[in-house]
């Protein structure tokens, strides 16, 4: 049971790290548009129609 004195602080540190990650994600705009990004994967880029110039327009 003594290990609790060691394990619980580690858990708290992990929570702090998770929060930091969450803050980063929020500040980075990851939650700004919840509607679009989830669907984006469904739209294929039709390479046959797009000239190469189009593909590297977005960096």
């Amino acid at each position: 049971m003594g290990s609790l004195y060691f394990l619980i602080p580690i858990a708290v540190v992990f929570v702090a790290l998770a929060l930091k990650l969450f803050f980063w994600a929020v500040n980075n705009g990851q939650y700004d548009d919840l509607d679009t990004e989830g669907r984006r994967i469904l739209f294929e880029d039709d390479a046959r129609d797009q000239p190469a110039a189009g593909a590297d327009g977005e960096k």
Binding site: L4, Y5, F23, T36, Q50, G54
Partner: protein
Amino acid sequence: MTSPPCYHCGLPVPAGSNFSLVIEGQARDLCCPGCEAVASAIVAGGLDGFYRYREGASERPEPAQSLERWAAYDLSEVQQQYVHDWDGGHKMAALLVGGITCAACVWLIEKHLAHLAGIEKVSVNASTSRAQIVFDPAQFKPSQLFAALERIGYRPAPATAANRESVIQAEHRGALRRLGVAGLGTMQVMMFAIALYFGAGTGDAGEFEGFFRWVSLLVATPVVFYAAQPFFSAALRGLRARHLGMDVPVSLAIGLAYGASFYATVSGTGEVYFESISMFTFFLLLGRTVEMRARHSAGLARGGLAQLLPITVARYDGDETVAVSIAALAEGDRILLRPGDTVPADGEVVEGESGVDESLLSGESALQRKFAGSPVYAGSVNGDSSLIVRVTAAGKFTRLSAIERLVERAQLEKPSQVALADRVAGVFVGAVLLAALGAFALWWQLDPSRAFWVALSVLVVTCPCALSLATPAALASATLRLQQLGLLVAGGNLLQTLPRINRVVFDKTGTLTRGEPRILQIVLLRTGWDEQRVKEVAAALESQTRHPLARAFRAWRGNRLASQVKVHTGRGLEGLVEGAAYRLGSGGFAARVAVVPPAGGGQWILLADNSGPIAWIALGDKLRASAREAVQQLHRLGLSVELLSGDQSGEVQRLAAQAGIANFRAGASPEDKLSHMQRLQREGERVLMVGDGLNDVPVLSGADASVAMMSAADLAQSRADAILLQGNLQVLPQSIALAHQCRRIVRQNLAWALGYNALALPLAVSGLVPPWAAAIGMSASSLVVVLNALRLSRARVPVMNALSPLPGLEPGLAD
């Protein structure tokens, strides 16, 4: 009608119009030249996948404007407002894009712009309708951006309100961060608390009690000082304003419980309530965040409109016109107004003759004839031919600004609403504090060592969690449901005011009608002609004018070609169609002799050639498909319905009769409308105002509750409590029904929360409630309240939908 709807916008294709395009290997019918142009631009860019991906029909586009109209956005003083510097010599333009309906629109815009030369990066946010485009100023001009967006059917505007947006964004992100801290903190503290509940008493785990308390304190501290901070500052603001809102008991409960638990941890005595505090904070934040998101989405959607005034104007310097920013206009300047231009300032016509649409200001839908010497007002739209105007008042001296000032005054006089929960809160705080003091005094006599802890448990147990969630949770869930139905709620009070409404006042222009002229009827006067031919010839003649009535003929444009078209302002036009000369316009003009139009509603125009009249065409605004049904349902809900219009013409009577409204009033000025409404309010009526024009703005702000149409003027929307998104008027009775339901739920919630507190209070006073029971009781009562509120978001609103088709599929032109 059996023909399929327009492939682009989903509206019915009128019989006899023949616009079509091969999309994804199949010929598709389109309804008008606007849709055809947009669809072909999309297909030509290889982006026809858009039609596969999208989830609903697109907006019906207006025919594209010439590139030169966008040129104003290249002026450096205009660019300053929406273009910012970006790394590497590039610039970033912030645009507001109207017409974004789903994620596929984002895909289309990003793909379409990305393969233009000079565009570096495009990011579009569908939920805010904002686009940020990084471009190379050496290769690309902002005006090309506007033109490119318009080509694929969207309505771009510079996002000049960027400041307010960044405030909204910061608020939104802050709320999410707080929610994250409170959520994670609650989970951790709960974990330790459960260990304490089950282990603290028994000898084996007892040694950890102090340790768990210290860790809980560590985790709960950021929850209190960071996540719960908005409650403290709101409570402080409330106290300064001498107003006991719900935030006061909330802050008191959090603050005292935290302070006492802190003391208990440090001194190793008493009880700790860290888990109750964290959970309480988390639940409350959750409710408020949902409510805030709904409010923000309303605030952002309302930016997506045409601006009231143009940003630049063609001013004469000598004999040449130069484009200058509207802010630079001064009294005495001479300006050129082309057909379709919005008048930027009050002035007097110097040269030219034209019809001007003043409906935004006066509500009058017919064009006003203007000639040398007539006054024109900022905000009205020039109709059919060019005018040269001398400016008499610009900026804040215009009539438009006078209306804005009227708005501010009306808003001050608006009947104030006190939220039910806030009224309860004042009494509640007093009662709880008295009870806690009483318990303390009582136990001081019995057992002084327990007095403090019993008083504290009274405060925590009666913690106003369920009480303070009761209203916001129900409001948030009803707001979301309304948004699904098509009503965007912007003012927090709307849901609380709606159930008390007993009179609905409509403004005619654009609320009951579709705001677009239609062909109502054709009376043929000559054998050998059929309706189709009349429509095609008229459409050919009208194809080159910007007269508002010309839009009625849009669908048949291009079937025949006209040449040498000449506009006679205020009377009509003449020209050659396939070699024959025709005239179209008022009876006297077209037939060259006085003739009497047939009886019947609408505005009659005559098509004639040199050998005499051919056909009468009645044009008019059609009632929205949902109007009649909506009025009936409002009557069924026991509300009186009234039509209050600024329109002078007999149209008001015709439309009122069609919609089934017996009580109507025509020719009311903005001042008349406001005083009429204030008289109603003095007589004890509670008025819901539905409007869209600028002339409605004062009355919208003064009404007990107000709804603006999506197509309404920006100012009208910003003053209204809610925005009707799809123009489906049936949403109004639905919303009122839902608001009644919401009020019922709020009352149930309040009753439950107060009942729970009434039950828990005596137990706490008698010292029978340990911390774990307080935590369970509190969270259970909060959950009951939240789950009860969630019933609203799934509420099936009683509608008689059988009679009305979907909003996008209203019966079309030729039915």
